[in-house]
Symmetry: C2
Subunit: 405 residues, 2 copies
């Protein structure tokens, strides 16, 4: 019974890929592996914007953890982590305490609100299955209410999306497709609905190729999205927002504000006593925390420097899954003996969806893609993520094959 105890916190892309690989590499007697997750399912967080818009059912975006793990090798605990105590080699959960020899922190992101007044209370964030389906229902409820009030309220049909980055733009693409359906469902003229994007930078998708950005803006504007660029969100209220653009303030009435403009690492990391850089652990090249060599950090809680441009890599599913593979390899080496590997990110490209059949992005070292071909590639990427986590079976079950629709 001298098996080392490996505890993995979180069943997102990072945590679940780690477990998935670990259970292949390690035998039943090599280690005692425990996976902790709040829900009994993993969700594809890069698909949540579709669930939130109502264009994809949330059951398509989630996978039962019991379908992925080998229960002979991995013990699953459904619970919520309340504290990480690296000096005591313990993790506190709501209902119990776990001790570990090796810990993998893969607790993902939470919304960063930048102290904007009212944002936390009044804006929705696309951060979980629960939140995504709440947004979906909240939006539809506004349409349902609109025709039932003696004086129809314009703010019910104004939808604000804060942030013109990846999540914001992908969500806008879905919303642009969903809104006409909702208009038909509730006998409301499309022209009465406003979808407004508020972005503090003077461009959407900062860092992307200008040609791709222009393509995205044209595609979205053609479907009725209004862009407020260089506009700072000053306040969010239940029934509207205030922005400041070119030094002038403007109130926009809106019963729905979805905040997609910033994420930070799970707050438990900052509170854990692990050495951190603005809430993230700047991991060593083998993905261990510099202050605690029995703690690995992967995914959105880890900070890895991209030396080429002297900036950190942005948090994505792609990097989380690559980190998870190295993490699992290194854990195996520590348990069974062997060389630890250094992590090196391989950029396979990025494709931003603009709705069901439109997308833009670049792959394989810069080749630009637009429209159908980009949309096709996006589905390939989505299916690849499923394959990494659950193999071909999962791809066939949850994959996206509607390439000709």
């Amino acid at each position: 019974m001298n098996q080392p105890k490996i505890v993995i916190l979180g069943a997102g892309y990072g945590g679940l890929t780690t477990v998935s690989k670990l259970q292949k590499e390690l035998g039943v007697n090599d280690a005692h592996i425990t996976l902790v997750n709040k829900h009994d399912y993993h969700y594809e967080s890069t698909w949540l914007h579709e669930n939130a818009a109502g264009t994809l059912h949330h059951d398509r975006s989630r996978v039962k953890i019991s379908d992925i793990i080998n229960s002979a090798k991995v013990n699953f605990v459904q619970d919520t982590v309340t504290a990480i105590k690296p000096d005591e080699k313990k993790v506190e959960l709501e209902d119990s305490v776990l001790e570990y020899d090796y810990l993998v922190v893969a607790l993902g992101f939470e919304a960063a609100t930048f102290g904007i007044p009212g944002l936390l209370e009044n804006a929705f964030t696309i951060g979980s299955i629960n939140k995504a389906r709440l947004i979906r229902q909240h939006i539809e409820y506004q349409f349902a209410q609109y025709n039932n009030e003696p004086e129809p309220k314009a703010e019910r049909l104004n939808f604000v999306v804060g942030g013109g980055g990846f999540t914001g733009i992908e969500f806008l693409g879905e919303l642009a497709n969903r809104v006409p359906e909702l208009c038909e469902e509730y006998d409301i003229d499309r022209s009465k609905v406003r979808i407004i994007n508020v972005e503090a930078m003077d461009t959407i998708m900062p860092g992307f190729d200008p040609e791709l950005i222009e393509y995205a803006m044209n595609s979205l504007e053609a479907r009725g999205i209004e862009f407020k660029l260089g506009a700072f969100l000053k306040e969010v209220r239940e029934d509207g927002i205030t922005i400041e653009q070119n030094g002038e303030k403007e109130d926009i009435p809106a019963m729905t504000t979805v905040w997609a403009a910033g994420v930070r690492a799970n707050h438990l990391v900052e509170e854990s006593g692990l050495e951190h850089n603005r809430g993230k652990v700047e991991v060593k090249s083998d993905l261990r925390a510099p202050s605690h060599e029995d703690v690995f950090v992967v995914g959105d809680c880890a900070l890895i420097w991209n030396k080429e441009i002297d900036r950190p890599y942005p948090p994505t599913a792609q990097i989380a899954m690559q980190e998870a593979e190295v993490c699992a390899h290194n854990l195996t080496a520590l348990v069974k003996g062997g060389e630890l590997k250094d992590f090196a990110f391989i950029n396979r490209g990025t494709v931003c969806s603009l709705g069901e059949n439109d997308a833009m992005g670049s792959i394989f070292g810069g080749k630009k893609l637009f429209g159908w071909s980009a949309s096709f590639m996006k589905k390939v990427i989505d299916n690849r993520a499923l394959y990494k986590i659950g193999g071909l079976g999962l791809v066939l079950k949850k994959g996206k094959f509607n390439v000709f629709s």
Copy 2:
């Protein structure tokens, strides 16, 4: 241009059946027929409880008026009636005024609130397509919110239905079937949801055969409906109700109260100056208003005495459609010459749905039906109503044929 002007107000069962028959009986040059309705569609108001529960899409319950009327013979005006002026032979609409030689008032029902505090503001009523889909979305929104609050609120999952009459019981039957689906959709245990019926009488379905009542209660209780009989609704709040039962008051927290306990005639009748009896026109045997012989009243706005039991006939689709046929015949006789007919109600029986595949009722002079056979008969009745309004084409388009599901 000496054609008499016939104006029909309302495209419910009474109004639309009148128009449907009138356009068959009268030639293009016989009369100038105008139909006025708030929406450009007719809806099957006896199906709205299914739309409200979310078990049937509202588009199945409505028919475009343009698909029913013969536009060569009938002029359709989509507008809301604001006043009836029988002494001036005029009808005021929001956007215009119509003069008539013959008027058919078929403006249907509205909810009777009996002065219960908070009812008007905080309870939903199943009175239109707009209201039905609002209820559907309100219910689902409660489920969506439940898992997103730090402290889940029990009142989100408590659903109160006021009234154990026809509409209340039919709605409960649908809700009992819908709730397990919503529980699955939102990962909520069915045992957390309460569906509570509040009825002031000490029985549901008063006037029905005791055996049928017992069948209905058993069917609904088996699916988790709680009955509060002999319970008076004292107050409705946004987040709960107060009832009084056996002299004791009880507060029930609930974010959703649907009031299905009473209807009255459209308030325009009472305000019109037509002679009325508690808001309804006690029509003569030829269905004309005693005070104005150029005004016919059919459907829920008309009061007709059932001399056998010395009580008025209850307002139903069945009686409205029978009245409409006599009304159309008598209008034709007035325009083209001929004998006016007296109205005589033929009771074809009543079947109360208890959900998709369950029902109870009596037909053809008292034969009792339960379960599948009653459910089958209910669908026959529903399809018959479609046939009367829009012929076989409408039955094939919107009819209910899922008798083996």
